[in-house]
Amino acid sequence: MFSAERQHPVAAVTKVLEIIKGNFITLVLLLFVTSGESMVSLFGILSVLLVLLVSGVLSWLRFTYSVVDGELRIEQGILVRKNIYLSKERIQVIDIKAGLLQRMFGLVEVEVKTAGSSSKAAKISAITREKAEELKSMLRTDSTGEAIDLEAEKQLLQNYELSAKDLVITSFTSGSFGIALSIIGTLFSQLDQVLSEEQMLYYLETIIPASISTNMVFYSIVFVILLSWLLSFLGTLIKYFGFTLKVYNKELIIRQGLFEQRQLTIPFNRIQAIQIKEGILRQPFGLASIILESAGYGEKEGNSTTLYPLIKKARVEDFLHKVVPEFDNPVYQSKPPQRALRRYLFRMVFISLSVIIPAWFYLPYGEYAISLLLPAILLGYAQYRDAAIGIDNGSLTIRSRDFALTTAIIQKKRIQRVSLKQNPFQKRRDLLSYLVTVASGNQGRSFDIRELEESAANKYFDWVSPEYTPQAKPGADSREIADTDTNTDTDT
């Protein structure tokens, strides 16, 4: 228990940087607008900086944190006071980070996450590492509310480190093209603020038609893919640099990061689900990554943490057994029946047509986009082949594929809701889509499997109900196994 304290003064600077980061585009625009008159812009920049600095110092002065009666209390706000009281029983994850600025002063940033959507970030942006550790040990308790015996807590059970070679392989195969592409897209969208409209038009009207050719289209596609691959390589390398996973009695501690070092503390009883993800670049090499869902707030998309970035598929079960034993038993009992195959295929055809048709009409050489059709159909087949679901006493396994093959292991007691969905086309074929949601971030994380047979879907639906008792229905079960068999036959 300690009395109200201020952060390290560096917090004033991090606050300023945070504001700049949050309003980056506005500030850049402001610069461009005022760039004509040098005196005005200089004065403008100086006054903006001054205002930011003053507000940074004020917010540092008005920010205090304390631990009272097992409650983390943060009071902040220059004009509007905002008080956050978090009781330690509610804390999901404690996230300790150190950015470049913090590391120069030997400081860290502490973020405390609870479940629920209405609470705001409880973030202390600059305190010494000792203070952070002290804070952490005060806030970590067992479920009875008593402070954990520190000795038992500190007993290290497992220690995993990502070797340099594995780090490079992780980065090579990360394939987070989506993120990299969006970065490139953002860069290009900023381009029009640098180039004037006349220049762009001139370029579009004279240079492009003269130089355009199949080769150019081809090379530019290759160039963009290579560039985004390079970005995703570097991004992954920086993110997972020095990755270590330590397993203690009651919690997991993950450290990672080159420039921004991050330390995550995740209590075991806060883990909502585990995902085994085999990306398309990793699958051929029998590699996977393991992802953990916890219920922290903040990120809209859900609160996923990489539990381990790269692992051989064959070692996954052993790893899960040692690290998260509650999730070590993936079971597959039912698959979509054969009549579901055409729905899987049609779906991918429709999705790819929604890209191909606009490309055909609006892009030069867009008709080549038709070559996407075959990979799309193959992907649809792979999605059909890989979809599987199973239950044992306490946990549910759902395996499905978008591009990457994802196996989710979910404990029954963590399921927030289960849904069955059926559209008229599915009704005609007695097929249903099955969906479960666990808490993760603001909106939770959902896992679904499409086109299950009605009886199978109903079985897994009923299983979620707390009053479910396993009933012996040999007839129904044997038919399911038979279905599974025919599917595996068609695979080989």
Partner: protein, 159 residues
Amino acid sequence: MKSEPQHRIPRTAVKAWRISGFLVSLFFWLAPIAMWVFDTEGVVDLWVYLVIVSAVLAITLLITFLIPHFRWKRWRYDINEHEIDLQHGLIIVQRTLVPVNRVQHVDTRQGPILRNYGLSNVTISTAATTHEIPALTEENAGTVRDQISRLALKAKEDV
């Protein structure tokens, strides 16, 4: 499979939904009216008006008459000490099961139209999702709310 949930939404819900559907459809009428008001020169052909007006008319009929009825017809719910069981959806039928001990809070909400008919929506929130049982009678909504919150309290587990 468990049998379908048994409880239904009161029939007065259809009336309330018709009125709110009609009010919403009025906004769609703003488009052709605005076009007619600003088109003083008569640039827009008559057939354009005809197409737009018939489209808006179709929307009006749909959201005032058809959708409220079929929505009411589909809605089913059940609440027992273990779970909340919901079934709804016009075209895509969705059946949802929420274990009661996952419920974080329940509240009842009503706008002016629902209040006029003595109806109230019940909103059920878990740590991940939010579900709504629409247009129950005020009395029943209160009962349902208290029932769920009592059951949720009894089975309190942390996330």
